[in-house]
Symmetry: C2
Subunit: 457 residues, 2 copies
């Protein structure tokens, strides 16, 4: 039987690693909506973005037609330190579930940032260095992105200034310490270092911060500091472009063994992982060459795709960023305590939003305790303790595999295991102690934030 | 140039993974000294050990002549979930150091236990299950071994009872929580669950525990509970046997590219990693087929090889275990605060001790701040945040590479990177804040403990 030859872990050779990123937008007939200038409501130009982002990254951000961008050699060399990541055949999980389904997961957690975030961090740091900048600023919630960027900046000897959501800063001192090991400076947000931070602190004394607020501070710091630009770990087109390395490797590994997946599952916060994982598969789908079910999984506590609206909205609380058209819950929406910090964003990548709107992606939401049940099950069976974010995909992959069992169907499931949960043990503890909340926002609550959306013609 | 073809990471194929463990002792002319019964001072028999250890493991422990033990299929299948581990060519480190040396490291940290400990844990759990036991007991200091054993027991559905040194239990709640995720019960030691624990608590109220004390409790629990045995993560011959998988993979990967190392460097606490890493190389050395420099690196705060004596000593504080002949500082010796918890053991594997005594291994000790300097340097250059234990080997590998630079010699260095430091950020924080101690015991202090060694004819 052919299947028996498939190893537990499929590793590509170095020579098989992608040499170019794939730009999904090039194959979209209807393109994602452009970023708008919040003052004029006109599409943002490269010039307008130049104060915030690096030049080369702006080109990537605005380019909806070029299908491939060559990965510079310096970045490919860095990738070789932790990539290719394994595509794992979940033999143990299949056996334990007693399912006829074939389950594969692309594991992005085998690097010190603990997630896929490093794929874009190193690219963004490279272009910043190439432009001769002194450093970059960013925000981090759960801490993976901040860690990844710290590593990337350390590699290229760039200054790295991270605004970390205050409650995370206090609850995750170890994440902070990892960033410090890589030489980054980490400031709890909101801080008194920025005007927007001071304003927020004056209006909400004692606030523990939010991602939207940290973004505002990081952007302000970048545009007011000489030789600095702002970088972001998700949502943007450029990030999805860099993250396409995940999907390209996955597809190459599957092709090597003649495997065609039936469905591809990924967690979705801002969309960096899902957008990267599905890229080449969605490309085939858009070109009519193949069909796949593609499933975005989001937390029921922050359901932007499943319960949001498709509209222009602010990307940040301080409203200093361009407006993006996306599925959004409103930029003021703060989800209830949810331990998957990476999925707490009110909006969603414009590209994924447009694909979802066209019906090319399905979306589903899952409750927090169901997610941790799947996480613990997976840890015990497959040996990897997953990040809470990744565990959203695990939950749905398990559910789909069980459906296959029920109807005796031998489907091939691929999901993205974006990272490890080693810095999330407080969440696991809450789960073990039965102290985890499954709060889901009511329709009335969501309506309040929806009413505050900016009015764009 | 041949060297250019060597990838950043050498992965063996599944079919190239070792199918048998290599028993170094079979090739030793002078064998390691046997374990002695603490009451009679006669060599321990299999029968005497049967109440403490699993039967199959006792056979492995006492067998000094069989060169290879087949790895059971169930264990090889588990290995496939996280092995083969990569042999990494440290291109970035070489470049940064500007050394002509070629540096390779065998990285054992890509699994949830975070270290090589899983290699033996799964073997010991397998034999316990095969014997029809209900569960196993053990101790853990830094927490890697306890985590590894929890994972292994969860896989085979065995009960796992871990005594964790109290200060670690309190300082490392996340390690504890990982074990809990895998269903293990974790008790801070000394506890009131055992007679020896109660005795120690009565004599030293408020003690924060030690590894030797936790061993005593775990052994007592095993021998007084029906269907339980005790398992240990280092020091013993059986552990070195299982860990030979590290060295066998390393040698196979090097052979694939025709690389012959000049020196092999590993950290040494009880000897599990070093003994495993060097096994096949030492075999060649013992059989006169090749020569290698082999360097054991220990902390200056706990220098059993470099400043201990070669003598019979107790393995634990409660003196319930057999006596082992080894380089030891005395079983009462408690090293000063040292963040490499895995290297705080007073003794050393009998096998490694005998090899060291025969002059086949070199040993060196390094100061804690020097170790963390190397750790941070390595993290920034190679992208992996190393465990404090592993960083002892990094320190010496860097020093040797710099010597090569000085004298323009193109040596090939292989070192063991046993694990990651994600649960050791408190130590990194102390280092960053300049609060790390470099205390080294005085000759007078060491003499006190040496005087207490048992007198064996």
């Amino acid at each position: 039987m052919k299947q028996e030859k498939i190893p537990y872990k499929i590793y590509l050779n170095e020579s098989e690693m992608p040499k170019a990123w794939y730009n999904l937008r090039a194959d979209m007939k209807k393109k994602p909506a452009p970023l708008l200038n919040p003052a004029t409501h006109k599409p943002m130009t490269a010039d307008e973005l130049a104060g915030v982002f690096c030049e080369e990254l702006i080109k990537q951000e605005l380019d909806n037609t070029t299908p491939y961008f060559e990965i510079p050699k310096e970045i490919r060399d860095f990738y070789k330190m932790y990539r290719p990541s394994p595509l794992v055949r979940a033999y143990c999980l299949e056996e334990k579930l007693g399912t006829p389904a074939k389950i594969y997961y692309k594991f992005e957690g085998n690097n010190t940032s603990g997630s896929h975030k490093l794929n874009s961090a190193i690219a963004q740091a490279y272009y910043a260095k190439k432009q001769g900048l002194k450093g970059v600023t960013t925000e981090t919630g759960a801490g993976q992105w901040g860690t990844a960027l710290s590593m990337a900046c350390s590699y290229f000897n760039l200054d790295c200034k991270v605004y970390m959501v205050k409650c995370s800063y206090e609850q995750k001192p170890f994440r902070r310490e990892v960033m410090r090991t890589y030489g980054a400076s980490v400031t709890p947000s909101p801080s008194t270092e920025t005007e927007v931070g001071k304003k927020i602190l004056a209006e909400h004394p004692g606030t523990t911060g939010s991602l939207g607020c940290a973004i505002s501070e990081a952007v302000e710091k970048a545009v007011t500091s000489d030789g600095y630009r702002y970088v972001l770990g998700s949502v943007l087109n450029q990030v999805l472009l860099h993250q396409s390395v995940i999907g390209l490797e996955t597809k190459a590994a599957l092709d090597k063994y003649g495997i065609k997946p039936d469905m591809i599952i990924g967690c979705a916060g801002g969309g960096s992982n899902l957008g990267g994982l599905i890229a080449p598969f969605m490309g085939e789908k858009l070109r009519g060459e193949a069909d796949y079910r593609i499933i975005a999984v989001e937390p029921a506590s922050c359901p932007s795709l499943t319960r949001g609206v498709y509209a222009y909205d602010f990307c940040d609380t301080g409203m200093v960023c361009p407006l993006a058209k996306m599925y959004t819950l409103g930029s003021d929406f703060i989800p209830s305590a949810n331990h998957a910090g990476g999925l707490r964003y009110h909006g969603m990548s414009s590209t994924l939003s447009e694909l979802y709107n066209q019906g090319l992606i399905e979306a589903t939401s899952v409750k927090q305790t169901d997610v941790f049940e799947a996480a613990e099950y997976f840890a015990r069976v497959e040996g990897i303790l997953p990040a809470p974010e990744s565990s959203h995909a695990i939950r749905v992959a398990i559910d789909e595999a069980l459906k296959c069992k029920e109807i005796s169907e031998e489907k091939t499931i691929v999901f993205g295991l974006t990272g490890t949960g080693y810095f999330d043990m407080v969440a696991y503890e809450k789960f073990h102690d039965g102290e985890m909340s499954d709060y889901i926002p009511t329709d009335e609550e969501l309506a309040i934030y929806r009413a505050k959306l900016p009015k764009i013609d």
